[in-house]
Symmetry: C2
Subunit: 85 residues, 2 copies
């Protein structure tokens, strides 16, 4: 069975996020008031073959630990897993 | 009132996503079987001051249109909006 698993990887709280600061600054320059802060992370959508949703989520978690996320600077969440077929 | 609004920006379907292809290939090389495809996008978390959730979501949508997303190559979704304080 195939699953679409969505993983969200964000800079850890307390870690400097220059990309987010640049976004917040640029939004202010464009006239958007009320932007207190911005943080920029990544979303990875995986199409995975696995017998069950728990297996797909577990595989995605291990992929984050091995490759997708930097454990020193980033946190990750396996956000959604939905059956594709 | 302050809101945390999360926006997800992904390469459009049908647009080549070399970063996603690299991720899928690297996962295979690391021994993860069953990865059919990967797509890599961005998540932007905004801390926004707005009177109501609908205003915060609407502001985030306009920020995507003006700055955060490339309308030619990317789709965006205003994913969640939650009250911070």
């Amino acid at each position: 069975m195939r699953w679409r698993v969505r993983v969200r990887i964000m800079p850890r709280q307390g870690i400097l996020d220059p990309q987010g600061q640049a976004v917040a600054h640029a939004l202010g320059s464009l006239g958007f008031a009320g932007v207190a802060a911005a943080r920029v992370g990544r979303t990875v959508e995986l199409a995975l073959d696995a017998p069950a949703e728990a297996d797909a989520r577990d595989a995605a978690k291990r992929m984050c630990e091995r490759l997708l996320a930097n454990p020193v600077t980033e946190d990750f969440v396996v956000d959604t897993a939905e059956a594709l077929a």
